[in-house]
Amino acid sequence: MRKAYVARQREALGRKSVAVLPVHYPKEILTAMDVLAVELWGPPGSPRGPEAGRLQTYVCAVVRNALAFMAGGHADVVDAALFPHTCDSVQGLATLVTDFGGWSKPSFVFQHPKGPTRASARKFLIAELRALAAWLGTLTGRPLDVEALRRAIRLHRAIDETKARVLARRERLPLSDRELYEALRRGEWLWPEEHLDELRELEGKLALDAPPRAGVPLMVTGYVPEPMALLDALDDAGAYVVRDDWAAVGRRVVVPRCAPDLDGDPFEALATLYYEAPECPTRSLDQEARTRRLLSLYDESGARGVIVHEPKFCEPEAFDVPAIKRAFAERGAPLLYLETELETELSGQTTTRLEAFVEMVGARRAA
């Protein structure tokens, strides 16, 4: 479906497209340059074909699968690839895919400023944003139009604000969690204006007068809601996700405490938004700030338990797990640590762990 969509965008609109590896990148610049971003979260499932064995099985499956996918020619419909420096594995992929995977199209590595916020980090970030714009200018043959960037920032602000409203009231949507996340994640490859239209339609389905959804409300923090069967298993067990901090979804919704100046330098506005984004181990080393935010999300959401969910061998997420476990244990909140494969289905044992966790939390609630 994505491949056909990308091809149609090229044929009908002459729009170029870029495959984007997880997680954070300034999508506004791509939109302003009339470039379609198509995110590559694996994809889930076992990598197949002769390209499957290029990385060891103990490397993050998102990267392992992405290498097999790109080397197998499955991403050839796009014009270029963007590799945010999310972790050493994604950084390594940027080299491997070119050196050994036969990827010959243009690539760009977007470097995140690491460490605490300071003037030099902001300066570095703005230089990276400008470098990305220049690279896209070469790709499209058009320089960046500053006014187009301002419009793109406003568009993405509208997307985030709508997503935030939908996510905050999700208990009143007549949708299963799988249906909700499938809708939200279409933004990973749809043209942003189309995605905003869909989000507004979704918001229109909110039944604010209806009673909230029945079941055990849980919060999830982790990387990406895959396998989606996890959502089905929670549903079957009588639970639902009331708040999420998945890097692919909830953690990328930016609700700034103060609105950035959208009439001034748009790169400054992007930098402001960057530092207003929720804490993420792929961008920051501040574990304390992340756990504070998670506890705050937990308290305001009414969740009765938290699931720390990550694909196996996800280093940035794994580093934070002990701190998160400690913080929630001190709060007396039930926590389930769940490592899953990047597959399309859940193992029976993982389903049992999820069901048992829901039973445990449900029993506490009843008591």
Binding site: S347, Q349, T352, R353, A356, E359, M360, R364, A367
Partner: protein
Amino acid sequence: MANEPVAIGVDVGSTTCKVVVIDGDGAILDHRVEPTHPRIEQQTTRLIGELSATLGRALPVGATGYGRQRVFGATRVLTEITCHARGAFCRVGRAAVLVDMGGQDTKIIRVGDDGAVGDFAMNDKCAAGTGRFLEVILGRLQVPFDEVWLHVSRADHGIAVSSTCTVFAESEVISLVAEGQELDGILRGLHESLAKRVASLAGALPPDASVVMSGGVALNAAMVRALSSALRREVRVLPEPQLVGALGAALSVR
């Protein structure tokens, strides 16, 4: 009411299928244990039917175990974690740390003073540390289950088995046999190695926590001794440890 059958519990494990009939006090009045059949629906329907025919009436059925969703007509379906906790609490009547070593996985369950699950940990990465692991190795060494304790108790020390994977551990044991190491010492080392893994899964236990054990592996006295040593406290085996999950399932519909 004592001696009056009130509920049936079914625990479809990866190795064995257990069915119990309990009275109002949680006493097991009757039970069946069979190797789990691939056609779980047919097997459990037959076993429930046999017990119901003996009783002369149908009773509510609680189902648990990995095949719990395949028990037709179950009044309630719960995971084995919740059911083992309920069964164990019925037996001991107070808070405890429960080690359930089954065929497919090992679970550490903290049972609260109300019988509810406080927390749990589960090894679900591979068969190492499970009944299946022991079965494979004992089969390779041609040691019948009921002779394990005899061998282990004769060994004055264990020969370390370091592999954490069933396949690699099997190879390592074969190498130790080929080197001429004593079978008794290998078996003791194997149990000690398993017990260390379970202790690692349990993490730091409160000093006053009492530890009880359920599941088919609890019938292996060598494993119980090794686990007591690894956890540095007495491990009490629950009566009829194999039936604790089925008991909990029955209690859930009592």
